[in-house]
């Protein structure tokens, strides 16, 4: 059965591994120079060439797409294709039970997927490590590896995503018995999951850290004027942390709006007009400090809920575990469906 699976799979297998190998070569060639650059310069961001930035963002894009593509193009047709062409009737009458038939198919596909994506994510993680979260002196930055966009494309989670997408595709293909609709449905569900997890699940996988700080000239990051006319304050967080919430709380510890006097207390923002202005404290320093110390006196504090940067690996393993558990459930359902429902 392994021979048959390999024979059916080999073209796609070779194509995918050739692409992975090509990507690895490219990263290996450019990686060491980049690492040296980052080691020798603090302001590495400003020294990056456009190719480097393209590779950085390209690495993110490839790792964002690869699991979905594998799930759709390997997973969905894995069984659905046999069902729609009728070849399952040939396969199921060889001297091998359909449970073993599915096990061989899934085992091979899962292994091939995990290894391919594993190589890719290792290479990208290694390549991007020196410049993750690099910020420029003036403006611009690269995403740090704990931000939702980068987190999903670093470390081990892409392997979890890919295996999940593959098994999701297989199960949907089994249920729908048609490759193309199965691909579409798999993509839709996968994207929904990929949006839902960082929003509602990932922040709680590892207990977040909460700190409360006095709002002062030193901690203030920005004062934002929203289109509704309300003002909010954000304070600095250390680089690389994933901020889940950055809110002002009142003396009783409840999150609260800024007091009404605050907006009149503030000096006029330079270049007034744009709604997202940062109150750059320059010549009017004194009065801003006055406003902030009055805020502090009245008991207002800023509460920061965040995942510190050293939670990267715990979060990675936790999320990978979550996806692999879901994958195991999907695999179990596939076996059940093959034995019970397809007869």
């Amino acid at each position: 059965m392994i021979w048959l699976t390999w024979r059916q799979f080999r073209t796609q297998f070779i194509a995918v591994y050739a692409l992975v190998a090509a990507a690895c070569v490219w990263l290996a060639v450019t990686g060491p120079a980049l690492a040296r650059l980052a080691r020798e310069n603090d302001d590495v961001y400003d020294l990056l060439t456009s190719t480097d930035r393209l590779l950085f963002n390209g690495g993110i894009a490839v790792l964002a797409v690869a699991p979905a593509v594998i799930g759709i193009f390997w997973g969905a047709p894995l069984v659905a294709r046999e069902l729609e062409t009728g070849t399952f009737r040939l396969a199921w009458n060889q001297s091998i039970t359909r449970g073993r038939w599915l096990a061989a198919k899934l085992g091979f596909a899962v292994l091939a997927t995990a290894v391919a994506v594993g190589i890719l994510t290792t290479a990208v993680t290694w390549w991007a490590h020196p410049i993750d979260g690099a910020t420029g002196n003036q403006h611009g930055s690269l995403a740090s590896r704990l931000t939702p966009i980068s987190f999903a494309m670093r470390g081990v989670v892409p392997v979890g995503y890919a295996v999940f997408a593959l098994l999701l595709g297989t199960l949907i293909g089994l249920i729908l018995r048609r490759s193309v609709p199965a691909m579409a449905v798999t993509l839709a569900i996968y994207v929904a999951v990929q949006i839902a997890v960082p929003l509602w699940v990932r922040p709680h996988l590892v207990p977040a850290t909460t700190t409360t700080m006095v709002i002062s000239h030193g901690t203030l990051d920005g004062i934002n004027l929203h289109s509704s006319g309300t003002l909010t304050i954000t304070t600095h967080a250390s680089r690389g942390d994933w901020i889940l919430s950055n809110r002002t709380i009142d003396a009783r510890g409840h999150s609260a709006a800024l007091p009404s006097w605050f907006s009149t207390c503030l000096p006029p923002p330079p270049g007034a007009g744009s709604p997202q202005d940062k109150a750059a404290a320059t010549s009017t320093n004194g009065s801003l400090d006055g406003c902030l110390s009055r805020l502090a006196d009245e008991g207002y504090r800023q509460r920061l809920v965040y995942q510190p940067r050293n939670h990267f690996w715990p979060l990675q393993w936790a999320e990978t575990g979550l996806y692999l558990t879901a994958s195991a459930v999907l695999a179990g359902l596939s076996f059940w469906w093959t034995r019970r429902r397809l007869s």
């Binding site: 059965m1 021979w3 048959l4 024979r7 059916q8 062409t85 009728g86 070849t87 399952f88 009737r89 040939l90 199921w92 009458n93 060889q94 001297s95 091998i96 039970t97 359909r98 073993r100 007869s343």
Partner: protein, 297 residues
């Protein structure tokens, strides 16, 4: 007579529709059994149940002394050439033979290669590029090389032209003679089966109408033609299978064990095709469904 397939009260329901109902039969070992019936009568469902691709909703079925597709040993006993002869379009003929060799412990590789050779199939050709007849032959080769005790073929010749049909059936019959296996094949074309089958099962509207040895069936059925007559006046031991009346004349197909003595009838023998058609039409026309369900012995 031992049975290769024993079904008891077998039924298969898809959602609310019964594809096969109340099927009780025995298929004798070492014979070529034809399963005939119109399209949608439940032939594929019955074969699926015998192979074990389907599981029965009610009733039991035993094939070669075990539950169909229960384990790999059971699977090895039954060969199956499914409808439309499915093959992997992207795999070559040689790949299919390797597939069979890898997946079947009793695989007869030499015989499979000999057969492919004799059929003038190019081992390097992809199955997707074969003609319908060649693909059918390839599927048959896979089924035979597995060396099963029972070979099942579902409408094997339906998509073939008359010449390819004849060739296919010829190859099948040679193989059966060589290997002494039991064969169960379905068709909605009776003339295909007439040449090869010695046992027949007629399936109409999800139910078995009649099953028996071809010789016995032909000996036990007669076409009676004579002056118009009410079926109720026929002797008790003559079961009406099919009837047709004009103003002055009646034609009956009856089943009986005893000789027909009434001199008013002119009696003609039936061919298998006539007999099967009589059963199919008889039910379609809503004729008195005589209790013809039990197996004729």
């Amino acid at each position: 007579m031992s049975a290769v397939v024993t079904a008891d009260g077998l039924g298969k329901r898809y959602r609310r529709r019964w594809a096969l109902q109340d099927c009780t039969l025995e298929i004798p070992v070492g014979r070529v059994t034809g399963l005939v019936g119109p399209n949608g009568a439940g032939k594929t469902t019955l074969l699926g149940l015998v192979v074990g691709i389907l599981t029965p909703t009610v009733g039991t079925i035993e094939v070669c002394g075990g539950r169909p597709a229960a384990d790999s040993a059971q699977l090895a006993k039954v060969g199956f050439v499914a409808q439309d002869n499915p093959t992997y379009a992207g795999l070559t003929v040689a790949d299919h033979l390797r597939l069979g060799a890898h997946l079947n412990p009793r695989w007869d590789d030499a015989a499979a290669r000999r057969r492919i050779d004799r059929l003038h199939l190019d081992p390097r050709q992809r199955a997707g590029q074969l003609s319908g007849g060649q693909r059918a032959q390839l599927a048959l080769t896979l089924g035979l090389a597995k060396r099963p005790e029972l070979l099942i073929l579902d409408e094997p010749v339906a998509s073939l032209d008359p010449l390819a049909r004849r060739e296919f059936l010829q190859v099948l019959m040679e193989a059966v003679a060589e290997d002494e296996i039991s064969v169960l094949l379905s068709s909605h074309v009776v003339s295909d089966l007439e040449r090869v089958c010695d046992h027949v099962i007629v399936l109409v509207d999800s139910q078995v109408r009649i099953a028996g040895d071809v010789e016995d069936l032909l000996a036990g059925h007669h076409r009676l033609t004579g002056p118009r007559r009410d079926p109720a006046t026929l002797p008790d031991d003559q079961d009406v299978v099919w009837a047709s009346h004009t103003d002055r004349q009646s034609t009956y197909v009856v089943r009986t064990e005893s000789p027909i003595l009434d001199p008013a009838w002119s009696i003609t023998a039936l061919g298998l095709e006539d007999l099967v058609l009589a059963y199919m039409e008889g039910t379609a026309a809503g004729a008195p469904a005589s209790p013809a369900l039990e197996v004729l012995r």
